[in-house]
């Protein structure tokens, strides 16, 4: 492929300041460390992990919504950190986001028409009011809503419909990358399926690249070719989604898979048994803490001395990359 890569992140690190309190001095907590990823045009990447793993921080860091402590984000080869505010604003046309809670991310005082017009005012100021309204109606149609909905307010919609409006707003300026931060977690299953189908269809039609954040591996199964598993701000495992599902190398990936619900009573029993097998054998050994070693060690059923002392680095095992001292031993 010619031309620079659509989106690339190199060794990102994000620190959050922890203000002084009582006798404690002000300090920093590192919430994301050594995270690298690439996304080419039309590709899709899932970022999976439990709450607190740094998924949303990663999304915000990619959008330059928060400062990086180290690392670079390149959009078509251009470092986002050195752009001026005005330049950044234009680049964000390519980089749009869908948020988790549709009601919280849609202005309750604006009609749908006003909400959808906002990106057009910024990215397509040449449009007349009538043209904008046409574009808004077309965008609504694409996500399965009617033009009549343009004059309504967010609270007049169900959760699934409101999330469709969130998707329409992100797509209306014609982005190259859509970053979705748990877009379906707040929705009922049947509605969740509809919104995922909508994203899949839009991706197909527009050749969109997708960065999809989720806590449940099951949600990303069909949507993303590659998956990156985050825990405690570090990449535990990454590779083709199919490989991760068929041969999870990292014990954490296995834990995520075993935790996912099955729609079949027999399979649910098997998964519960799997979870018991993955439970850590003993309590944390005396004097050990995960600060020096692997962050997953306290919850790992395979943790041994090395895991407590030494941070595993990401290495190639089969067709995936995995950060685990014992990954090679796992079948």
């Amino acid at each position: 492929m010619s031309g620079p890569l659509l989106l690339e992140a190199r060794d990102l690190r994000v620190d959050y300041p922890l203000p002084a309190r009582g006798l404690r001095r002000a300090t920093n907590v590192t919430v994301l460390q050594q995270v690298s990823l690439t996304l080419a045009d039309g590709q899709s990447l899932a970022v999976v992990g439990e709450s607190g793993s740094g998924k949303s921080t990663l999304a915000r860091a990619l959008l330059r919504l928060l400062p990086l402590a180290a690392g670079q984000v390149l959009l078509r080869g251009e470092d986002l950190a050195i752009l001026t505010a005005a330049e950044l604003r234009q680049r964000r046309r390519d980089l749009q986001m869908v948020f988790q809670d549709p009601y919280a991310s849609l202005d309750p005082a604006m009609t749908v028409a006003e909400i959808l017009s906002q990106p057009l005012r910024v990215f397509a100021p040449e449009l007349s009011a009538a043209q904008r309204l046409d574009r808004c109606a077309a965008a609504l149609h694409e996500v399965g809503l009617q033009p009549a909905h343009l004059q309504r307010y967010a609270h007049q919609f169900s959760g699934g419909q409101a999330q469709r409006i969130g998707v329409a707003r992100a797509l209306i300026a014609g982005p190259a990358v859509l970053i979705c931060d748990e877009p379906v977690s707040a929705l009922d299953l049947p509605i969740r399926l509809q919104v995922l189908q909508l994203l899949a269809a839009q991706r197909e039609q527009r050749g969109l690249a997708l960065l999809f954040i989720a806590h449940d591996l099951a949600a990303v199964r069909y949507l993303c070719e590659r998956t990156l598993v985050l825990f405690a701000g570090r990449v535990m495992e990454q590779g083709p989604t199919a490989s991760l599902f068929a041969h999870p190398r990292h014990p954490y990936t296995r834990t995520l898979l075993a935790a996912s619900l099955r729609a079949d009573p027999q399979a649910a029993k098997a998964a519960a048994a799997q979870r018991r097998a993955l439970a850590p054998a003993a309590a944390v050994p005396a004097g050990q803490s995960a600060v020096a070693g692997c962050a997953w060690a306290p919850r790992c059923h395979l943790a041994q001395a090395q895991c407590w002392q030494q941070q595993p680095v990401l290495r190639q095992v089969g067709d995936v990359q995995v950060a685990c001292h014992r990954a090679g031993e796992l079948a």
Binding site: S51, L193, H215, L261, R262
Partner: protein, 273 residues
């Protein structure tokens, strides 16, 4: 089970008509069900099907002005409004969907847990604290003594849901009603809470009614599944039967969504969304 023992809970043709409903639209429409001691009944349905209204009606907590018709029998005895309020929090307890709004942010966990005990066991004040401690332990909270002095915002989402559960268990209820108990949680925490509910059933012989839109939750928990649509029961049967041969279109829709969005244990299925 002895055939002469009445079921723990029996509901006969329960209907709820919300105040001001147009031409008598019913949120819950002639629902009948029963729950045996120690069994788990799952109630599934899409949002708006009336499943939460049904739970609230069982507890006598229907919104003001709603018309509630039908009969609720507790251990064979008809349950009046005062009777329900006496059982509530004691013999019948409830866990709500969102632990952040169900816990009081201004009060310590100790205050909130002990309140249940003070209400229902007024003669035994002294035991409240030790009771709270052992319940936090039972739901898997580390360092329960320290936690008791903390406030809800100092806990993670999963811990909060465990505290809700501990609060519901204070008086060792015979029946626990759980409204979407894991919907707002991560998958790993969800699995832990579901495993915990099964353990508690074993240990305490407690019966459960679990309400959810996710058939995956019921696949793991329920002995029996009841599916609701527009306030009515459209399917009711043993879990294996409902999952194996779903009859009602509503059940098929729910199951299909859960199947498409699950981890497949059999590879080579594919097929897209």
């Amino acid at each position: 089970m002895n055939s002469t023992t009445p079921p723990l809970l029996q509901v006969r043709s329960l209907s709820v008509t919300p105040a001001g409903a147009h031409s008598g639209v019913r949120a819950v429409d002639a629902v009948s069900l029963q729950v045996q001691r120690g069994s788990i009944l799952g109630i599934a349905g899409e949002s708006g099907c009336g499943k939460t209204q049904l739970l609230l009606a069982l507890l006598g907590l229907s919104p003001r002005g709603a018309l509630v018709q039908g009969q609720v029998l507790w251990q064979g005895q008809a349950l009046s409004a005062e009777g329900a309020s006496r059982l509530r929090g004691d013999r019948i307890a409830m866990v709500f969907q969102d632990p952040m709004t169900a816990l009081n942010p201004y009060l310590t966990l100790a205050t909130q847990l002990c309140e249940v005990w003070h209400c229902h066991r007024p003669g035994a004040h002294a035991q409240a604290n030790s009771r709270a401690l052992s319940m936090l332990q039972a739901v898997g909270i580390d360092e329960p003594a320290r936690r008791l002095k903390q406030y809800p915002h100092q806990l993670s989402g999963g811990q909060r849901q465990r505290v809700m559960l501990a609060m519901a268990l204070m008086c060792e209820p015979d029946l626990l009603l759980a409204d979407e108990p894991t919907t707002s949680l991560d998958v790993t925490v969800q699995a832990q809470i579901l495993d915990l509910l099964l353990q508690l059933r074993e240990r305490l012989g407690m019966a459960l009614i679990v309400v959810t839109h996710d058939m995956g939750v019921l696949a793991q928990l329920a002995d029996e599944v009841l599916v609701m649509e527009s306030g009515r029961v459209v399917e009711h049967g043993a879990t294996a039967q409902v999952f194996g041969a779903p009859q009602a279109p509503a059940t098929q829709r729910l199951l299909q969504a859960a199947q498409r969005l699950q981890i497949s244990d059999s590879p080579a299925e594919g097929g897209g969304l």
